[in-house]
C-alpha cells in the first residue's frame, strides 16, 4: 500500500521536502512507518520523543494501523498563538 506523507516546520526544513510517498506492507502501523523513516534518515531518531502523527487530519497513536491512500502528517511540537 502507498501512504502520502506530509512534513511541516522543523521537519520540513530538516528533510528539505514537504511531501513524499512511501510503500508499506499492508497493515503497517504508524510506528513501523516512523522506524522505516528513521532507518532512511538516522538524524530523525532523536526527534522520536517529540514528533506526533496525524492520519487523514486526526491525531493518532503510534499503534494506529495505516491503510492504502492515507495522508500521514508528521507533526513537530506545535507553537501557534
Amino acid at each position: 500500500m502507498i501512504v502520502h506523507l506530509r512534513f511541516f516546520a522543523s521537519l520540513r526544513e530538516r528533510l528539505k521536502m514537504s511531501a513524499a510517498e512511501r510503500t508499506l506492507a499492508d497493515g503497517a502501523t504508524v510506528a513501523e512507518l516512523w522506524n522505516a523513516l528513521c532507518r532512511e534518515r538516522p538524524d530523525l531518531e532523536p526527534l522520536s520523543a517529540s514528533v506526533t502523527f496525524a492520519v487523514n487530519r486526526e491525531y493518532v497513536e503510534r499503534t494506529h494501523r495505516l491503510a492504502d491512500g492515507d495522508e500521514v502528517a508528521l507533526i513537530p511540537p506545535v507553537s501557534g498563538g
Binding site: 511541516f8 516546520a9 506526533t52 491525531y59 507533526i75 506545535v78 507553537s79 501557534g80 498563538g81
Partner: protein, 142 residues
C-alpha cells in the same frame, strides 16, 4: 468563522462575526507578536500551518467550548507567513448571554489552540532562527 489567513487580521471584523442579539457580552482575545523571547530580541516571527487539519482542530475547540459553556458564537482566525512585531497573529472572539462564560470559553480556546492546532512559529533573532516548541521536546498528548 474559522480561518487561516496570510493578511493582517481585522480584530473588529472577527468580533463582529460573533455579534448576536441574545448575547450581552463579546470577549475578544488578540495574540500579538512580541519583540523578545527567552531574553533575546526577536526581529520577526513567521508562522506555518497544516491548514486543513488546523481548521478541523479549531472547529473541535469550538465544539468543546459550546459543550462546556453556554456561549452563542465563537470565531477563531490565525495568521500565517511573516507577522511583523506588534501585529495580531491570532484573534478569538466569543459571544454569550453573560460575560463569565464568554471569558472562560475564550481563555479555554486560546490555551487549547496552543496545545493542539497544527501551527508552528519560527522566531528570527539576530544571528539565528528557531522553530518554537521543537527545542523543548514538548509533546501533544491526550
Amino acid at each position: 468563522m474559522f480561518a487561516i489567513v496570510e493578511d493582517p487580521i481585522d480584530a473588529a471584523r472577527v468580533s463582529a462575526a460573533v455579534a448576536d442579539p441574545t448575547s450581552g457580552a463579546i470577549v475578544t482575545f488578540i495574540g500579538t507578536t512580541r519583540d523578545h523571547n527567552d531574553g533575546r530580541a526577536v526581529t520577526r516571527l513567521e508562522y506555518e500551518a497544516y491548514p486543513e487539519m488546523a481548521l478541523a482542530e479549531m472547529r473541535k475547540i469550538a465544539d468543546t467550548a459550546r459543550q462546556r459553556w453556554p456561549i452563542a458564537k465563537i470565531a477563531i482566525v490565525h495568521r500565517i507567513g511573516v507577522v511583523p512585531i506588534g501585529e495580531a497573529s491570532v484573534v478569538i472572539a466569543v459571544s454569550a448571554a453573560h460575560r463569565a462564560p464568554a471569558f472562560a470559553a475564550c481563555h479555554f480556546a486560546i490555551d487549547r489552540l496552543k496545545e493542539v492546532v497544527p501551527i508552528w512559529k519560527k522566531e528570527h533573532f539576530d544571528g539565528g532562527e528557531v522553530w518554537i516548541g521543537s527545542q523543548t521536546g514538548q509533546r501533544f498528548t491526550e
